[in-house]
């Protein structure tokens, strides 16, 4: 049995870089993205082999699934843009060129490139050699975590590290996600999906069947996260997948979510996390120092809110832009500013 697993490990360890190479060398961007998704799935197999089930879940859902969906939708958007600009003939030649892999495009290899490649490979060889020579420090923080597990309020060690011992990291991490949503919203508006594009009966049934199930699974993952693999990130990813499915099926309800509600859903997790971090101080502890008896409930509360926000945020990232807000508000602000300036000029 162990031999078989050993062979499996060797194959997987070889296939991962090979796929990586193939996907970057592939002339077709669509194929590259598909290879990227399959690489993500194989990565999650590797995580399972390395006894990292939490990471495996997150990788399969976020690293492969949602990132892949983001890439595919970006690709579609790029192609649509390109199609609309086909008439610009000077661009066309470039397009042909950019679909070629870099190796074929630049036949001549300048000396600087070869030199850089050489230096890089020397560095990597050194790195590899150093990795081989240096043993992993024994134990690291593992024993420290194990020693304090009794006070963490949860049974799963990864969750304990994420939400308790290093909860501040996770707080900032949730802010990164919030920032990404802010960034995407600040850059562009969501693309209008044509009204008449209705999903087929199969997709509609699938949505009706899967979305409630996915929400249940997300809740389960958050719940089980306190004792086993799972947690806010994984649960949020499943919620996000449900959101992406709804967006794909172009369900009317999703399009009509009021923007205020969406904004509150986006910040629910970050806000609650932040407020409970501060609340811990007001009870007399440090920042994020949960009361020892009720730490489990605090963590569950934070995780649930965070999972909702992560789900909404990731789905919003997939939607790829700020929603069409009631134009009135922006217009009013603009107008008042304009009149102010005019008055100022007049005076």
């Amino acid at each position: 049995m162990t031999d078989a697993m050993g062979i499996f490990d060797i194959m997987l360890a070889l296939v991962l870089p090979w796929l990586g190479w193939r996907l970057l060398a592939s002339p077709n961007l669509f194929r590259a993205v598909v290879l990227f998704i399959s690489l993500g799935l194989l990565m999650s197999l590797a995580w399972v082999r390395l006894h990292a089930p939490d990471v495996a879940l997150a990788e399969a859902a976020i690293g492969a699934g949602l990132t892949g969906a983001l890439f595919l939708s970006a690709l579609r958007r790029l192609e649509r843009l390109r199609d609309s600009e086909r008439r610009l003939d000077y661009a066309e030649k470039r397009e042909e060129e950019q679909n070629l892999p870099p190796e074929k495009r630049r036949k001549s290899k300048p000396v600087a490139y070869v030199l850089a490649l050489f230096l890089l490979s020397v560095f990597l060889l050194l790195l590899g050699g150093a990795l081989l020579k240096t043993p992993v420090a024994p134990g690291r923080l593992g024993p420290a975590v194990a020693g304090q597990m009794g006070q963490s309020g949860v049974q799963s060690r990864v969750t304990a590290v994420l939400l308790n011992f290093r909860g501040y990291d996770t707080l900032l991490e949730v802010m990164v996600l919030f920032l990404a949503a802010l960034g995407v919203w600040s850059l562009t508006r969501v693309r209008q999906t044509p009204q008449e594009k209705v999903p087929g009966p199969v997709l509609a049934t699938l949505v009706r069947l899967l979305v409630p199930l996915m929400i249940t699974v997300a809740g389960y993952l958050v719940w089980i996260g306190s004792s086993r693999a799972g947690g806010a990130f994984q649960g949020g990813a499943v919620l996000a997948a449900a959101g992406v499915l709804l967006l794909l099926a172009n369900v009317t309800v999703v399009r009509q979510i009021p923007s205020t509600l969406l904004r509150w859903a986006l910040v629910l997790g970050p806000l609650l996390f932040l407020l409970s971090a501060v609340a811990c101080m007001s009870i007399g502890g440090n920042l994020l120092e949960y009361p020892r008896q009720s730490a489990g409930s605090w963590i569950l509360l934070i995780e649930s809110a965070t999972a909702v926000s992560i789900g909404v945020t990731l789905a919003a990232l997939y939607a790829g832009g700020r929603p069409h807000e009631p134009a009135a508000r922006e217009a009013i602000v603009d107008k008042s500013a304009d009149t102010k300036v005019k008055n100022g000029e007049g005076a």
């Binding site: 087929g200 199969v202 997709l203 699938l206």
Partner: protein
């Protein structure tokens, strides 16, 4: 217990050729429709056998239930995505392959 375990192993072994043939079909068949056919049909049967085998080896009932749920979900997902891919291909006016 050992009997059930062996039976499970046999089921898994039966499932593997289906996966292999599905994959060969994916690689060797001429057009998208036939490839979809190979992929979904053969793989679903293969997965059924593997799940059955694992369920026979499982030690707890809730593991069996979860395995069953996984199998059902994969069935739903693969048939739905097969349908969607085929529909998209038809919309793009990709002609089904014929021997002529």
């Amino acid at each position: 217990m050992a009997f059930l375990h062996n039976l499970g192993t046999i089921c898994i072994l039966i499932g593997i050729p289906f996966f292999v043939s599905g994959t060969i079909g994916l690689l060797r068949f001429p057009d998208i429709y036939t490839r979809l056919h190979a992929l979904t049909k053969a793989d679903n049967v293969g997965l059924g056998f593997v799940v059955l085998g694992l369920a026979l080896q499982a030690e707890q009932w809730n593991t069996v239930a979860r395995l069953l749920l996984i199998w059902l979900l994969v069935l739903v997902a693969s048939s739905a995505s097969c349908h969607l891919v085929a529909r998209a291909a038809l919309r793009k006016k990709i002609q089904p392959w014929s021997r002529s």
